[in-house]
Symmetry: C2
Subunit: 342 residues, 2 copies
């Protein structure tokens, strides 16, 4: 029996086990991407992709002058137009209009009362004329009065059943495959990823974990006030028709500071609503990454920027050059838009 | 050379490496506590300790009817009186009074103006008479007008130099060793731990990671409004003398919902300020843990409850029994109070 394992076999056995051990040790930490596996396959080679790789390499390589400890690797992402599409209008507004339609039987006066009349008659011209105040009325009417748990359930139901008018698919199918890869890539490199959106925090939280891998406590957004109540001894939170916080434009750095409490080192946006978030995130000391998704693909998605009603990108596009922010040209930089097109 | 490794040696070598591999694999996952290592050594055997172990075992054991997935293992902790001491008054108020003293030369009128006069003369009776409005005035005077980064630096400086009047030690030394063990134990079992405090969010964030292992984005607290500004092109956030959110009493479930977005399955508090947080957290479906730290040790810490000015524990203590919340008797349940006494 002493001859069963000759020297060579023993050495091979040891080598195999040592490699196995080494592999397991490496497996415990975040594995860096190897040259042979592209972590961003939906991104074409180009300046935008290179800027992401260069940034991540610089801040994650020990000894690099730009190295950043894991605890400070905070990355913030706008949602509408950055992680998913936002046309014909913000998806939350599609939801809000569906809420008005669903609640109309209980509010017969809406048939003759703007802006509700416009929603019920699909009169987009009158709706546009109702302006921001009209939008807020529509949002408040269908979004308040219920408990927070009832509202979350309504959102979940809608996301499961509603279909996008152009693609005839669930809205959550219209997320950007390249951005899903970017989220995964950053997390694999020790980043904590947050959403910082002008959209409603309670509209996003029911789906962000499943769709983006982002848990509810890493979602910052606009919100309404809620009130704690005991109903027959059961504690509930009731949504009130009063705005608590608007997480847009100059509100985004405020939201980041209030909810996250650390200045991000990377920020991703697509519109002037993200300008101050990009300024705040990239002005800190050390190496930073600012990136703008420019919607340039009218065929596969939509093409719009300086003149658009939704997701207007004007000042932020102008400032991108002087601030060294990367700009994704959706048409040329992304070889896939949506996961279902892979 | 073929005889160098006789069979027995080879078998031992293999066994050792297999154990090593197995150990590394286990080390990647959260290691459950074994019977031989007590994860809560500063807790004496008793009902409170047992309730913690029973709860954690139930929610983390696959197949148990009370099993909870890692994503939903949210635990919330009050800070003042739950994670650290709060006598003679909340430590943030000690800081606020030191701010008034430091800023007094720039505000000569404070010498004759209450409540500032009371602070400068150490006149605790007049200070108490100034009531809540007086406290707010003191907090706002020393806490606003600067940028958020300047404020964080002031807090860090104060924590490094100020000494607690009774123990003559930094305030951050007065954290409860048993609660540090509890935080570690819960995290080792897949819980995400949050602070939900009535205290100022920007007063806590500079030290919570170092002291409690809780990062800034997992700290919920009261806050002031801030404003985004460009100062010579540099973006800053300026602290305004206006309250944004009070995270106390019925505000705690609201804060939990707004900042965390999930209902916790475990809540830890010590006063009536935590009552609604305990109600909200423990009323959800499935198994829940509510725990109250009862300050009963006048020798090693302080003894106070229903009549106390700071950290009043009255209604929550009464409701503990009917709601099945655990109550820690500090004197008998904890064999160590502060880490420096170990």
């Amino acid at each position: 029996m002493a001859y069963i394992y000759p020297n060579k076999t023993v050495i091979l056995l040891r080598a195999t086990l040592i490699l196995l051990v080494a592999g397991l040790v490496a497996g415990c930490a975040h594995a860096p991407p190897t040259a042979s596996v592209d972590p961003l396959p939906s991104w074409n080679a180009g300046a935008a992709k290179t800027s992401v790789f260069d940034f991540v390499r610089a801040v994650t390589t020990p000894g690099n002058p730009d190295f950043v400890p894991v605890a400070e690797r905070i990355a913030v992402f706008d949602n509408d137009g950055t992680l998913w599409s936002e046309k014909p209008v913000y998806f939350q507004f599609m939801f809000a209009m569906d809420r008005i339609r669903a609640l109309a039987p209980q509010h017969p006066q809406w048939k003759s009362q703007q802006p509700f009349k416009a929603v019920l008659e699909n009169d987009m011209k009158s709706l546009a004329a109702a302006g921001e105040q009209g939008l807020i009325q529509i949002l408040l009417a269908g979004h308040t009065g219920m408990t927070t748990e009832e509202f979350a359930e309504t959102v979940t139901q809608w996301l499961a059943t509603a279909r996008h008018p152009r693609f005839q698919r669930p809205y959550t199918d219209l997320v950007f495959q390249p951005m899903l890869e970017l989220l995964d890539y950053l997390r694999a490199n020790g980043f904590k990823t947050f959403i910082v959106s002008g959209g409603g925090i309670e509209f996003m939280r029911p789906f962000t974990r499943k769709v983006y891998g982002i848990p509810p406590d890493q979602v910052v957004g606009s919100s309404l006030k809620t009130r704690f109540e005991l109903r027959q001894g059961e504690p509930v939170l009731v949504r009130l028709p009063e705005i608590f916080f608007i997480d847009d434009k100059a509100g985004k750095p405020v939201g980041i500071h209030t909810f996250i409490g650390q200045r991000p080192i990377a920020a991703f946006g697509n519109s002037d609503g993200d300008l101050q978030m990009l300024q705040w995130s990239t002005a800190g000391p050390g190496r930073r990454l600012g990136l703008i998704v420019h919607h340039t693909d009218a065929v596969r998605e939509w093409a719009y920027d300086r003149q658009s009603h939704v997701g207007k990108l004007d000042q932020a596009l102008t400032q991108a050059t002087q601030n060294g922010w990367s700009v994704v040209d959706m048409q040329t930089d992304w070889n896939v838009i949506y996961p279902f097109q892979k």
